[in-house]
């Protein structure tokens, strides 16, 4: 464990050096994600210029949910961005062999290799939005809820990671699975709004099948209302653990099915 941590630190340091070397690159990336976020907010703003509330939520509450949902998304983006590359081209080009020849866990190595600073855009916006509305929204703040807040975010993040690992691993069978990651990952859009606006089928789908609702709306709902911690927070933890286990299972099955693409 200690060794892994040390390796991780070295790899991250390498990444940061690269960032320092290509400052313009980092700026383009971070600014791009920042503008992307700003447009997301502008969208909510324009909608609310026409209506006082949406499905019983005020503008500030929706912004809080939106802001919260960006934190797990941003953290996953920061830490595990290389999984996209596994799906899109690492396996296809035969470059995955590299990870298999090293004396560390290939999954750990793939993930540790990239430290995606572009994610700063999402994280900064997410945090800023939550702080911005914290004054005008009646948040449920107790010692317990503060602890749960810190506790639940890594689990929400792992839902993203699990989905990327599972869908990325399909590349071991079909060479390139970027489109599957793209398709499934795209469903995170559902997490930004109250699930009560969807039809029952879609609501269940984003709760239990592709559980992005647990990366945004459900945990955020608890911090807004204090309701139902067992489902909103406990559910996040359980779903996260279940999905991570399934994802690791698929990954390992995939690894044993992997045949190098050769060149």
């Amino acid at each position: 464990m200690h060794r892994l941590f040390k390796i991780y630190r070295i790899l991250v340091a390498q990444n940061l050096k690269r960032v320092m070397e290509y400052k313009a690159d980092f700026l383009t990336g971070a600014v791009s994600f920042l503008i992307d976020q700003a447009i997301g907010i502008a969208f909510i703003f324009i909608i609310f210029s026409q209506i006082p509330q949406l499905a019983g939520f005020t503008f500030e509450q929706i912004v809080f949910i939106y802001g919260f949902s960006q934190i797990p998304k941003g953290l996953d983006h920061l830490l595990t961005d290389n999984l996209w590359c596994v799906g899109y081209f690492i396996v296809k080009k035969g470059d995955f062999d590299k990870y298999l020849t090293r004396p560390i866990n290939p999954l750990f190595h793939v993930i540790a290799e990239t430290f995606q600073v572009d994610a700063v855009g999402e994280l900064v916006v997410g945090i800023a939005l939550m702080i911005y509305v914290s004054g005008s929204v009646n948040l449920y703040i107790t010692p317990l809820s503060v602890i749960l807040f810190i506790l639940v975010i890594p689990f929400s993040m792992l839902i993203y990671t699990a989905i990327k690992i599972a869908t990325g691993a399909f590349a071991f069978w079909i060479k390139s699975s970027g489109f599957i990651i793209q398709m499934v990952y795209g469903m995170n859009e559902f997490a930004k709004y109250p699930t009560t606006i969807y039809s029952p089928f879609i609501r269940n789908f984003v709760t239990y099948i592709i559980p992005f609702a647990f990366t945004g709306y459900y945990p955020a709902l608890y911090f807004l209302t204090g309701q139902n911690p067992l489902f909103n927070i406990g559910g996040t933890v359980i779903i996260s653990v279940i999905f991570m286990s399934i994802a690791l299972l698929i990954w390992h099955k995939g690894l044993s099915a992997y045949e190098s693409a050769g060149s």
């Binding site: 383009t28 992307d36 324009i46 109250p194 879609i202």
Partner: protein, 261 residues
């Protein structure tokens, strides 16, 4: 063109992924707007009913598939890897070779994706409104407008692709480009919902020509004079952007140095 068709077939899974991804997004937006309409308590929102809104969302999706251009990534990658040198060596106009390639793919998309989607949309509209509203004249004008929209989209993407001569983080640029286009073209939110002054500006920008104009024509929201005017705006932008992309190209190609071989 043939090469474009072939590569679309080869990468059909990628196309399928994006097509399904786009549809999912439409559904998110559909439910969001449904909630907005029910919260607002009125069934008419700046001249848009919920049926209009649904048509708008799905037509925007269809239109964006047709006007989608990956030339930004293609050019970017070729510049980065130096493969662009191979294109420069060939005795064909560089941007036309990209264009021909894409038109092939788009032709196929029209057959396998656009037509079924349009049929689906019309079935929905017939059921929702109670009578058959398909207007062949509007559809023909829509196609003219879509072709212009595609040419504009191609040029805009080409200009962004040329940024690879100057910037290295193409992925970031891509995100930036897509989110700007989504917002300014009215794909995210119909321009009529935007504040008056912003709408006026955006209607004359090239982005609205890329999706909003064809969709509004299809929906019959414009009268004849307005249609002629909007299509003229599109044509002007197509020409201006053609000139701009040429300008950047000539400036950039002089700085091009290809490493290795």
């Amino acid at each position: 063109m043939k090469a474009g068709i072939q590569s679309l077939i080869a990468y059909r899974m990628n196309f399928l992924g994006f097509a399904i991804g786009g549809l999912i997004y439409c559904f998110v937006m559909y439910y969001l707007w449904k909630a907005v309409f029910s919260s607002s308590g009125s069934d008419n929102f700046m001249g848009f009913s919920m049926v209009d809104m649904t048509l708008y969302l799905f037509l925007s999706n269809v239109t964006s598939q047709l006007t989608f251009s990956s030339v930004c990534d293609d050019v970017g990658e070729e510049i980065r890897h130096g493969d662009i040198a191979m294109r420069l060596l060939k005795p064909v106009n560089t941007d036309l070779s990209y264009l021909a390639n894409e038109i092939g793919g788009n032709y196929l998309k029209f057959i396998v994706s656009t037509i079924p989607m349009i049929i689906g949309i019309e079935i929905y509209r017939t059921l929702a409104v109670g009578n058959f509203m398909f207007n062949i004249g509007n559809f023909a004008l829509y196609l003219v407008s879509v072709i212009l929209a595609y040419l504009i989209s191609f040029r805009v993407n080409l200009c962004f692709g040329f940024m690879a001569f100057y910037v290295k983080n193409l992925w970031g640029m891509n995100i930036l480009k897509n989110s700007i286009i989504n917002f300014l073209s009215g794909m995210l939110i119909p321009l009529v919902f935007m504040p008056e002054f912003l709408r006026k500006i955006l209607e004359y920008m090239p982005f609205s020509s890329m999706s909003y104009t064809p969709v509004m024509i299809y929906m019959g929201k414009y009268d004849t004079t307005e249609i002629i005017f909007r299509i003229a705006v599109q044509a002007v932008w197509a020409i201006l952007l053609y000139a701009l992309s040429k300008l950047i190209w000539f400036h950039a190609v002089k700085r091009l140095t290809v490493q290795g071989g």
